[in-house]
């Protein structure tokens, strides 16, 4: 248990699930090891005992079938929460996510909406190597018909699920594995959140660090280091990757005129590139210099700790990119 007034990202996720299951009989949680095992990351621990095996439903290892079953159940009047253990395994369900969940409403001319929430753990940083370390939320954000959300705080971990379940269309929730033990304020009474809006997590005047998900703590840590150098960084948490909150992006650029985008996805064709394109489209004349980006090196994620660290965005990379963005000395070899 956490100290009074505080919690962890994992506990906040669990409270969100518990509240959702308690609030609506149509809601059920389905996925691999969500019940007896307690969730492969212990997020759903205790929920089987509280809600029973029909509503905390262990599924066989068949991602395509149980994601598709979630789609069918949603069409059939339920409000399923499907847990795909990790984003890596969601690739086995890509047909259902893309060809059915994302497509049915439009293809049927508005007849069939799919009120389905799919949760999955994403990201690297735990030495799980190339097949268990993907950050594909930006990929999914490419697909019209999906909403893609990336809780990064205990409040969003607790409350985004409620908003996602109220959405009449499919919502993909990407929970970063490295955040699970991250402490934060107890959000029980913090109240509902808006899935359409990005959030400024730290206000600043000199440079905007735009990020989401597991990179948020790194961006905030970088901002503290930059403050010691006299660079006042603003940190924007996108929260939702589709639809992107373009207004919030434009607003922060208009405040600082210098931008660093931090994205744990690969650089080429990533959500980072779309963010920069939005700035180009809507805030080009607000820029005082080229946008910098800190992304994962374009390699499969390696196992060895020093190699993995070298592959992923790190605090010092964000610091260095921010110095370059504002034209400060030490940017090239910080």
């Amino acid at each position: 248990m956490s100290a009074p007034g505080t919690t962890t990202y994992r506990e906040a996720l669990r409270e969100g699930l518990r509240a959702a299951l308690a609030a609506d009989d149509r809601t059920f949680l389905m996925g691999e090891d969500v019940g007896r095992y307690g969730g492969s990351f212990a997020v759903s621990l205790g929920l089987l005992e509280e809600f029973g095996p029909a509503r905390v439903r262990d599924a066989p290892l068949s991602e395509s079938a149980f994601v598709g079953a979630g789609i069918g159940a949603a069409i059939g009047g339920m409000r399923p929460i499907v847990e795909v253990m990790t984003v890596n395994f969601s690739l086995l369900a890509l047909d259902q996510i893309m060809n059915n969940a994302a497509t049915l409403l439009h293809m049927t001319n508005g007849q069939l909406n799919v009120p389905l929430v799919i949760r999955m753990t994403t990201g690297a940083g735990r030495q799980l190597a190339a097949q268990h370390s993907h950050s594909l939320e930006g990929w999914y954000a490419h697909i019209p018909g999906l909403r893609v959300v990336t809780p990064a705080t205990t409040r969003d971990a607790r409350w985004m699920l409620k908003a996602a379940l109220e959405d009449p269309d499919p919502v993909l929730v990407f929970e970063h594995g490295a955040l699970l033990t991250e402490p934060g304020p107890d959000p029980s009474d913090a109240g509902e959140v808006d899935l359409d809006r990005a959030a400024v997590r730290r206000a600043g005047r000199d440079v905007s660090i735009i990020t989401y998900g597991g990179s948020l703590p790194k961006a905030l840590a970088a901002a503290e280091l930059l403050a010691a150098e006299g660079i006042d960084a603003e940190v924007v948490d996108l929260r939702t990757l589709r639809p992107l909150d373009t207004d919030a992006i434009v607003a922060t650029v208009a405040r600082t005129h210098h931008v660093v985008v931090v994205d744990e996805g690969w650089r080429s064709g990533g959500i980072n590139a779309e963010i920069i394109a939005r700035i180009n489209d809507h805030a080009f004349f607000e820029l005082d210099g080229p946008v910098q980006r800190v992304c994962t090196l374009e390699v499969p994620i390696p196992y060895a700790q020093h190699l993995e660290e070298a592959a992923l965005p790190q605090v010092h990379d964000v610091v260095r990119a921010s110095r370059i963005a504002v034209g400060a000395a030490g940017g090239s070899d910080g």
């Binding site: 068949s62 598709g68 339920m78 060809n99 909406n113």
Partner: protein, 329 residues
């Protein structure tokens, strides 16, 4: 393990009704070929000519509350589920009046009102959705069956195996209807399956699995009724292997190089419409039961084509509607 329900004597009024169903589908699709040749219908067009007994028999066994999930070869399923010929033909012509507003076309006929859930063009992709529709019914204690059609080609797909396992494991009310027409596009069954006894394969999921003559509409209906009754009684899913044959190519693009003409001719001797017509005559029914239907069916098709041709092309300014739902959050 695998059993085949006994054939039954025909009941003349029922037989005439099923004959009418199959003739409607056959003539509708023949008209689609003409419209395709005239470039009024474009894209892919997959015909079920020769396979009409499958849809006619299974759909006759379902109730209005049941659900249907079909494939891209689904004109007949949609029509016999109750979608109007006008709405289907309008869809084929890309009109706003189409059942999907011209967005789906031949491969994606849907009607929420009829619980007709496609029109799925990824082989095997409909099976998980059907499993979920059945799960919703089970969890809400509704007495419904979800009929899921797929070709034998789907049985090589992972989604087939995952869905069969899930449906059997959770005893879900799904009627799995394998339309075995012996060819997955151009790949013959014995070139695509290590085990060509499909009912045997299905039965390995601890599921009742029956082989049915898919050219005999009465046998298909009989089997589907027995299966649906077993499912409604809580017996879990049932698999039907419906042995049939398509008389025409896979799609309008297919030169049909992979089959012998003699094989096609042999199967044409078991044309489901001719077989039932002969049985009706033998049972003392009208002398030309198909001929008796032609004028009425042609009139329905003429009406549907005229309606579709006079339709409104789906407006471009509506293109971005329904990417997401249009409701207040």
């Amino acid at each position: 393990m695998t059993t085949t329900p006994e054939s039954v004597d025909i009941d003349l009024p029922i037989a005439l009704d099923r004959l009418r169903a199959m003739v409607r589908v056959r003539r509708f699709e023949e008209r689609c070929v003409e419209l395709y040749s005239a470039s009024a219908i474009r894209g892919f067009l997959h015909l079920a000519i020769g396979e009409e007994a499958v849809a006619a028999g299974v759909l006759a066994a379902l109730e209005p509350d049941d659900a249907v999930v079909a494939t891209y070869r689904e004109h007949g399923h949609a029509l016999l589920r109750g979608l109007s010929m006008r709405s289907i033909m309008s869809e084929m012509l890309g009109m706003q009046e189409g059942c999907c507003g011209g967005r789906g076309g031949s491969m994606h006929l849907f009607s929420a009102e009829h619980r007709f859930y496609g029109g799925n063009a990824i082989v095997g992709g409909g099976l998980p959705v059907a499993t979920g529709l059945a799960l919703a019914d089970q969890m809400q204690a509704r007495d419904r069956v979800t009929a899921c059609f797929f070709g034998e080609g789907a049985m090589a797909e992972g989604e087939f195996h995952e869905s069969m396992n899930l449906a059997a494991l959770w005893e879900l009310p799904v009627l799995f209807c394998c339309e075995n027409n012996l060819y997955a596009m151009g790949t013959a069954l014995d070139r695509s399956e290590s085990q060509v006894d499909l009912a045997l394969k299905a039965s390995s999921y601890a599921m009742a699995a029956w082989v049915v003559d898919g050219m005999d509409v009465i046998a298909v209906e009989h089997a589907a009724r027995a299966a649906a009754a077993q499912i409604r009684a809580g017996g879990g899913p049932v698999f039907l292997e419906l042995r049939t044959y398509r008389f025409r190519a896979h799609s309008m693009y297919d030169p049909d190089r992979y089959r012998d003409k003699e094989e096609i001719e042999r199967w044409r001797e078991r044309d489901p419409i001719a077989l039932l017509a002969a049985a009706i005559v033998a049972a003392g029914g009208p002398a030309d039961p198909v001929g008796d239907l032609e004028a009425e069916v042609a009139a329905e098709i003429d009406d549907a084509v005229a309606f579709a041709e006079a339709g409104t092309p789906a407006p471009v300014d509506s293109l971005t509607r329904f990417v997401t739902s249009e409701v207040a959050r």
